[in-house]
Amino acid sequence: MTVGTQVKQTLSSLKSARWTLQNFASIEENREAKDIFSRNAQLISDVIQDLENRVGQLEFEEPQYKGF
């Protein structure tokens, strides 16, 4: 497994985790819990952005492993 594949796997897990947190944030009525969930979903979004950039760089270096 290349590094690219591994990073893509981590990326997918993070996306699913972010989606779950956003889901909780939308259903939860309690103010504090809602804020915590949405704030952390946002932080995860930042990390996802960084990782996606990195995946882009990796694919540039090794075009034969491009895409899923």
């Binding site: 590094v3 947190l21 889901n23 939860e28 009525e29 819990a33 990782l51 950039n53």
Partner: protein, 286 residues
């Protein structure tokens, strides 16, 4: 008309009449229930029974008596709500029995309680050592309310300094196989969402006895068939475990890469993710 028919009519009629009267009397706070309330309830019961059994031949007279004993207490209760002076006369005040850990013997005498009575009432509140009590008050209903000394009170998350996150009340969305739309709407969800969640759990709606949804939208089920084991929903724990895994992955990538910018990026991501893990821990795990 024959005797038994008379009794049947009276009993049935009084049954519904008393039901109606009791609903009119409404709910009473049990702490304010005095001995007199008990007496009036007994009188109502005996009067109703006597009329039903035709012991009291005069039906009109019986119903008048019943009306007095139900409506007068209700009226006094209403007056008591409006005027504090009426409250004090009719319902009495609380008596402080223990203050600052010291038993007030003259108050006990006033309340006509023996020390054995006091200790018995404390034991009803699971207090076996009177030295644990900081404050105790005798309510008008005869019950003793106890406030324990701070170090004898059961541990709460706050006293142990544990952050457990905040959660709201879970809503019961299915009872006895019937979907309750009101609690669903209170959470901002609808039947479609519920059906989707049940499909996800692989359970048909007809099989569900009780279904509850916690404040984050997790569904907890109990089925009619007790032989089937439904797995407890673990979405929260799974999300938390996923986040921890991704954080560890980022650390691994940071070690594995040679490029300095990539290394820095991975380290930063790992830092952010460990913060997220720490912050969501009380909500997702406890």
């Amino acid at each position: 008309m024959p005797e038994w028919f008379n009794i049947l009519l009276r009993s049935a009629g009084l049954f519904f009449l008393t039901l109606l009267l009791v609903r009119i009397m409404g709910k009473k706070q049990s702490t304010r229930l005095t001995f007199f309330d008990l007496v009036s309830v007994i009188v109502i019961g005996v009067t109703t029974a006597a009329i039903s059994l035709n012991i009291v031949k005069n039906l009109a007279g019986g119903i008048i008596a019943l009306a007095v004993w139900t409506l007068f207490p209700a009226a006094i209760y209403l007056l008591a709500i409006k005027y504090k002076s009426v409250r004090d006369i009719v319902q009495g005040k609380e008596t402080v029995l223990i203050n600052h850990g010291k038993i007030l013997e003259d108050k006990l005498l006033e309340a006509r309680m023996t020390p054995e009575d006091l200790l018995g009432q404390l034991r009803k509140k699971n207090v076996f050592a009177f030295a644990d009590v900081e404050f105790a008050v005798l309510e008008p209903s005869g019950e003793v309310s106890v406030f324990l000394k701070k170090d004898r009170q059961p541990a709460t998350a706050k006293t142990l300094n544990i952050n457990v996150g905040s959660e709201s009340v879970p809503q019961t969305v299915m009872l006895d196989g019937i979907v309750m739309d009101e609690p669903l709407a209170a959470m901002g969800l609808n039947r479609q969402w519920l059906h989707t969640e049940l499909e996800k759990a692989g359970v048909a709606p007809e099989n569900v006895f009780i279904a509850q949804v916690d404040s984050a939208g997790q569904l907890y089920l109990d089925l009619f068939d007790d032989a089937i084991q439904t797995p407890r929903p673990k979405t929260k724990e799974l999300v938390w475990a996923t986040l921890k895994k991704c954080q560890a992955d980022c650390e691994l990538y940071a070690l594995g890469t040679n490029r300095p910018e990539a290394k820095k990026m991975y380290q930063r991501s790992s830092g952010i993710l460990s913060e997220v893990v720490k912050e969501t821990e009380p909500l997702l795990t406890k």
